[in-house]
Every structure is written in structure tokens, then in C-alpha cells.
Symmetry: C2
Subunit: 213 residues, 2 copies
Amino acid sequence: MPQRKIFDSGFRDELTQLLTWRRDVRQFRTDPLPPGTTERLVQAASLAPSVGLSQPWRFVFVEDARRRTTVRNVFETCNAAALAGYSGEKAERYARLKLAGLDAAPCQFAVFCDRSVLQGHGLGRSTMPETLDYSVVLAVHTLWLAARAEGLGLGWLSILDPATVVAALDVPKTWHFIGYFCLGYPAAEDDTPALERAGWEQRCDPARVIVRR
Amino acid sequence: MPQRKIFDSGFRDELTQLLTWRRDVRQFRTDPLPPGTTERLVQAASLAPSVGLSQPWRFVFVEDARRRTTVRNVFETCNAAALAGYSGEKAERYARLKLAGLDAAPCQFAVFCDRSVLQGHGLGRSTMPETLDYSVVLAVHTLWLAARAEGLGLGWLSILDPATVVAALDVPKTWHFIGYFCLGYPAAEDDTPALERAGWEQRCDPARVIVRR
């Protein structure tokens, strides 16, 4: 095994492009995914770091029409409640935002953290047990980037009541819900976040988030 | 602005290599980082997704020797307590693991989530407020990959008492501690996790984490 791997400036430039063109996608084409895509992306996700090498991520692909309907209903209820929390111009802007991709995306999946996982033997999470959930978030991001590199878009739905989603998906009780995702070919590509294009929010200067102590 | 960006198979292969060669590094060379490295990496991290475009990540670079000593002491205390939780062969293996890189790494930083952030106007986190912390984890992973592409290694320390670290770093009370990190040139490179090489744990077959519903 060669125990060295160097990445050149050409790759680094492309990596920056990948980060720049990765979007949280809400509008999808209905084209199906090529065979083997989900398996390949979960394989990439499994290269993510995890606390104590615990790999607690669990991917639940939701194919049943009734389960999908339940998730859509949960989203619509929660989204209406969230909209009610805004007023004036902000409420108008919120109402115009497209926040789900549930209608068109060919693939939907939920991601869980198996909090009962034995793998890793508890290493590294005695004082910060939340690192187990964080490990799953790292895997989601890995999948996200691998998907974008294939021309696929991912959308993360968080406007959901976790308890209702969990009940609909019939998973072990020790699995903690992290998020619900739509995956498919994006209707459009962009290097600017949709929320920035929609006038909801702008990105801040990265220098402003650095503090020295 | 061209609104299309395609990544070729050569880039995808290199991306897989990046994911494969990204390690959680605990043994560093003492060489300093090139000037501008931390700013450049935080800029890359700021391309990460965040709920409602809230960008709640805050990077605290720890340069003061007394603050670094406090963090090292916290680690040693917590690590000894964690070791006491294992017995027999597992305790012996634990004692042999190198779990910090605090001695040699030229750069140390803590990462926080500003839970009082107004950016994003609360979008997307009414039912799942934990997505704000998750956004910070996504930024950490982005920085991790960008660092590895430059030949730098990152180590995530989670065997820490958050309250003591937070007190030592003198940050706003609304900032929630996510993790503490060592950054520098790795003493060695590898395509296999250190915990696997040390016989602590092995990675599982990715197919086993997929469920269909």
C-alpha cells in the first residue's frame, strides 16, 4: 500500500467548485436515479469520520406511497405552523419559498443515528454523547458532496415533526431521527443559495466568524 | 454567470480518494501552517450548507499558552475517567491509543454554534432546533476536507468537559460548544482509520446500514 496521497491544485480548485455549486435543492426533475446510485452514495457516506469509528448512520429509503404521503402531510402541517410565526413582508416571502421537493424527487430517504450502536465501544463520547449524532451529520454531508459530483441534488427537510415521521417509518426505537432528504436531478443548477436568490438571507463575510484567544 | 457545472469522472475518482485518505489525525509534525491557511479554510467552511442560511459557525483559534494548558488538562482528566470505564484487554488497548494531538499541532481551535444567531430568521428550525448545531458540524466537515486537500490533517477532540473549555475561552454565553480541533501536517498519511489499524474497531459493510420502507 502506498502510504502517501497528494492532491494537486487542479483538484483543489475543482473541490472549491464542488462546494460552491452544492445546493440544498427543492426543485427536481422526475427522472429516476441510475441503478446502483443509492448504494454507491451510501458507500461514499460510509467513508465519513465517526466518533470512535462507531458509524452510527442508518439510511431508510422511503418507497411506500402511504409512508410518503404521511411525510408530506407532516411537512405541510409544520410548514403552515412555521409560516404563521412570521408576519408582514417576511410572511409573504416565506409563503413564496419552495421548501420541499417531495412532489418530484424520485428518491426520498430518512437518516437516523443508532444511539444503541455497539460499534466503537463508546470511545470518544463519554463527555459529549452528541458526537454520535454529529457523526451521522458528517455522513450526510459526505453523501451530499458525492451526489453533487454526479450531477445529483439533495434537499434537507427539517420542517417536520420527528415523532410522526419516526412512527411512519417503523424503525427501531433506539434510532434517533436526524433528517429527511429528497434526492434527484435538480431542475436547475446554481452557484448561489436559493435563499439568497429569493431575498430571504445573504451569506456573511467568513472573516467575521473568526475569533482569536 | 454560467448556470451549469459538470464534474467529470476524473474528479469523482479523486474525490473518493480524498474521502478515503481523510483521517482523524492525532500525530502531527510541528511545522507551522503557511500564512493565510486558517482564513482560507474558514472561507471554504463557510460554503457549507446551513439551516435557513443561518451560518451559525464560530471559529475560535486558541493561541494563548495558558488557555491551551487548560484544554490539555481537561483532556487528560476526561481521558483518564474514560479509561477507567474499560477493563481487561479493552483498557489496555485504550491506554495505548493516542487520542490527542495537543502537543505537536501548530494550530488549535474550538468551534461553536451561535444559538442566538439572527441570520436566517429562524427558517427551517422551528420543529428541529438541533439543525443549527448540525449546520456547524457540516462546516467542520467542509473545513476537514479542504484541509486534507492541502495535505493538512485535522483531529477532533471530544473527550473534554465542554463547560471547562468554554470558561477558558471566554466566548459569548449563547455560543454552544461543538468541538475542539488540532490542525497541522500529519506525522504520517494513511487510507485506513487509526482505530482500525490499532485493532480497536473495524468499519462495517455499507450495505448493512441501508433499510427500505
